[in-house]
């Protein structure tokens, strides 16, 4: 039983028409209701991930730059600290030597004074 026969095989055209119809309808409905949205979502997620990756790359570069900068600042600070230390040591030495010199002066003066006062006393006692 069939509408036409091809090489002795009965072919029911109605079945074929129905099959063609239902599959076409299925494709178009799915395309409109499902695949359009799904492809949109997948594409926008892809875009989102690409953006995020670019951002991370950018942040990474920035972080590297910042790290370099901070290392430089640290080096500078160390250098400064060393210089300040050297400077202060030198100053301290200066102060100490100065102080020693002054102390010597004071001692010398005091001795001289003592000597002078003694000789004065001597003269005084001779005169009396």
């Amino acid at each position: 039983m069939g509408d036409i026969t091809l090489f002795g095989l009965p072919i029911s055209l109605g079945t074929m028409v129905y099959q063609a119809l239902i599959f076409t309808v299925l494709v178009f409905i799915l395309k409109k209701l499902v695949f359009k949205k799904l492809v949109g979502v997948m594409d926008s997620r892809k875009q989102h991930i690409e953006n995020q990756l670019q951002l991370t790359e950018q942040y990474k570069q920035e972080a590297e730059k910042n790290l370099e900068l901070s290392a430089e600042v640290l080096n500078q600070a160390r250098k400064d600290a060393r210089e300040i230390m050297k400077h202060s040591e030198y100053e301290a030495k200066l102060i100490i030597s100065d102080a020693k010199f002054q102390a010597k002066e004071i001692v010398k003066e005091a001795k001289e004074e003592l000597f002078r006062s003694r000789s004065f006393m001597h003269k005084d006692s001779k005169g009396a």
Binding site: Y18, F35, L38
Partner: protein, 237 residues
């Protein structure tokens, strides 16, 4: 093992009711799976059902990219995904059971719709017609008609024959594989009528053969989609 089909005649066209039943159910299943899986779409981390649909989409996209290079044709992608899901479900419909009523003469109501050449040949004809359509739309009618005489005129007959051959092989490959599986399943299931001993002997082969039918159904759906993409790609260049 050939049973009568439940056929009716409407508007001078014969309709096979069992095929109409199973194709409608297969289409509805595909539609509901696809629709319900993508009801709550998210751009963030997809849930398992959305993930499943996206996996199928990516799978078909890969097939497309392999055959026709990078492309974003939504219609071809939709066709591929629908075809894959539809054929997979249609191939599996007849695996778990079949329904045959037997009042005066046995009538087969439930089996894989793809185990009938009407269904597979219709799909194959639609796909080949679509490839011809895009050829005409992309390159014009003149180029399309001249393409039958390339590389030289003597090959005209072979070019025409090739189109019929691709259509026939595309449709009949799927039909033959699924039909053979169903015949074997029917034979094994028929062992039940020969007593308990025969039935228990046939149980294990039946199980194995069902697993094999699932495998064949999956592979054939994949092959059908891949060939569709290859035929479309052939027309694009």
């Amino acid at each position: 093992m050939e049973h009568a089909r439940p056929q009716v005649v409407l508007f001078n066209l014969t309709f096979d009711l069992s095929i109409i039943l199973t194709t409608t159910i297969a289409s509805l299943l595909v539609f509901f799976i696809a629709y319900l899986a993508t009801r709550n779409l998210t751009e963030g981390i997809p849930k398992k059902w959305q993930n499943f649909m996206e996996w199928i989409m990516d799978f078909v996209r890969d097939i497309m990219n392999n055959s026709m290079g990078h492309t974003n044709n939504l219609f071809v992608l939709s066709t591929g995904v629908s075809l894959l899901m539809y054929l997979f479900i249609a191939n599996l419909l007849g695996v778990p059971f079949s329904i045959i009523t037997s009042e005066d003469h046995p009538v087969s109501w439930w089996r894989s719709p793809t185990a009938d050449a009407h269904v597979t040949m219709t799909l194959a004809i639609m796909i080949i017609a679509y490839t011809h359509f895009i050829d005409i739309r992309l390159h014009g009618l003149k180029h399309y008609l001249l393409s039958f005489f390339k590389p030289f005129k003597a090959l005209f007959a072979i070019n025409i024959l090739e189109q019929f051959a691709t259509t026939l092989t595309l449709g009949l490959r799927l039909f033959g594989n699924i039909y053979a599986g169903e015949v074997m399943l029917a034979l094994l299931a028929g062992a039940v009528t020969h007593g308990f001993a025969v039935a228990s002997l046939a149980a294990i082969p039946m199980l194995i053969w069902q697993a094999f039918c699932v495998f064949i159904g999956t592979i054939q759906a994949y092959i059908f989609v891949t060939l569709t993409m290859v035929y479309i790609a052939h027309r694009l260049t």
